[in-house]
Symmetry: C2
Subunit: 275 residues, 2 copies
Amino acid sequence: MDYSELTSQIFKKESFLCIGLDSDINKIPSFLLEHEDPIFEFNKQIIDSTHDLAVAYKPNTAFYESNGSKGWLSLEKTVAHIKNNYPDIFLIADAKRGDIGNTSHEYAKAFFQTMNFDAITVAPYMGSDSVKPFLSFKDKWVIILALTSNEGSNDFQLNTLSENNEFLFEKVISTARFWGDEKNTMFVVGATKSDYLKEIRKIAPNHFLLIPGVGAQGGSLTEVAKNGINNNCGLLVNSSREIIYSSQNRDFAIKARIKSREIKEEMKLILKQLL
Amino acid sequence: MDYSELTSQIFKKESFLCIGLDSDINKIPSFLLEHEDPIFEFNKQIIDSTHDLAVAYKPNTAFYESNGSKGWLSLEKTVAHIKNNYPDIFLIADAKRGDIGNTSHEYAKAFFQTMNFDAITVAPYMGSDSVKPFLSFKDKWVIILALTSNEGSNDFQLNTLSENNEFLFEKVISTARFWGDEKNTMFVVGATKSDYLKEIRKIAPNHFLLIPGVGAQGGSLTEVAKNGINNNCGLLVNSSREIIYSSQNRDFAIKARIKSREIKEEMKLILKQLL
C-alpha cells in the first residue's frame, strides 16, 4: 500500500488506529483452545469484528515464534486472511529486525514476499546497510525504531551525542530519513514519549509515525495527536492488549469492537480538526 | 551450556570456531533440492562433517524465515539434530531480537524453550528491559550487538556521546555488562573492527566476544586473536559462507570440513600460546 492510499484510508475510515495482534496463547479466551489453531481463530474473530474501525493491524512476531513453526503458520494464516478479505488494511510485521545487508534482504523476502506484509519494524543500531535492503521493495515500508515506549529507552536512545548535542534517537531520525523518504519510511515513537513529538516533527514533518504505548502502557491519545499530527494525519496509533483482551468470554470479539470503536470515535474528532 | 563447560570445550577441541549456518536455498548445491527439506539436509551434512572441529553453530534466522513456516521447521529440525547428537555444541540463534519486556520474554521462550538454543543475539537499542528477560533463563546466554562488521556500524555505533566522549558501542558494553555478568552475556564485535578490541578488553576483560566477519567479510583471525583473546580464550570466531559454500558439488560437506580444519589448526596454534 502506498502513501496516498494509506492517507486516503485514514480519512475514509476516520481512524488512524492500528490494532496490535500480540496474540498470546496464555491470554486468549480459554474456550478457543479447542480449535486446531487457537491463535489464528482468535485473530480471525478479532479482525472480522474490527476491520472497518482500524486502518492497520500489527502482529508482533514474538508471540508467534514462541509457538515455533506452528506459531509461524498461525502468522501466515493471519496475513492471508487479512490480505484475502480486507485489501484496505495496512499490514505491519512488528519484527524489529536488522542485520548486515545480504541478511536483511532475506528478512525483507520473508515479510514482503513469502508473506505479504506492507511494512516491517526495524532496529536502527546496525545502520544504513541493515535497513536499505527493505527499501528496495516497491510500495513496502520500513518503520524504524526511534524513541520507544519502554523504560530502557533511557539507556541509549536518550543519550546525547558530542557532535551537536542531539539525542541518539534524533540522530537516528535525521540520518535515516535520507535512506528512503516519507513514502516508504516511518518512525516508531512511543506514546509515553509524546513530549518529544514536537521536536521530532521539526526533523520529520511529513513522515508517518507509528505510536505504540497508548492504553496498557499508559500513553494518551490526545497528547500524541496534539504534538504529533500533521496535515495528512501522519500517525498510526497502536493499541494491543487494551483491545484484544477486552474480554475472556465468548463475547471477546464484540468487546474488542466496542473498545476499538471508542478509540476510533476519539480519532474521528481529532481528524475533523484537520479538515 | 555454562561458562566453564564452554571454556573446557574450547580447550578440549583446540578450537573457538563457530560455523554460521546462513543456509540459503539459492546457494546450496542444487542436487540437494531433490530432498524434501533441502536446507535441513544441507545443514545436517555440514554439521555431521564438522562438529568435532567447531565449538558452536550459529544459524541466522533470516535464512529460515525467508522460507516461511517451512523454513522455521528446517530450523527446528537443525536444532534438534545438533542437540540430540552433539551435546558438546554451543548453539547460537543469530536472531538480533529485542522488544519491550513482555515481548522479549516471548522471544526468550521461542529460542530457549520451544527450541533449545544456548544463546541468542540481541540488539541493544531498546535498552535494559529489552534484554533482561533473556537473562532469567538458567545457563542461557545473550550476545549483545556492540560493534558490528558492516559499513553501517559507522552510522550510530561509532558516534561519540557527550557524557564522556565514549563511542556508543562502548557505552553499550559498559552499561550492558552489568545487566548480567560474564557467565551469561557476550558481545558481538566484527572481525573487521579488530583495532577496537584492545579498548573493548579494557571495558570487558572477561566476557566472551562473538566475532563474525572473518573470511567473506574480510576480517583476520590473527589480528582478532592478538587484540581480543583473554586467558580463557574469551572468543568465538564465526565463519559462515567461507565454510558452508566451499563447494557446489557432492563433496560440499567434505570441503566444508577441510576449510573448518584449516581454521581450527590456526586456532590450535593460537590457543597453545595461552597454556
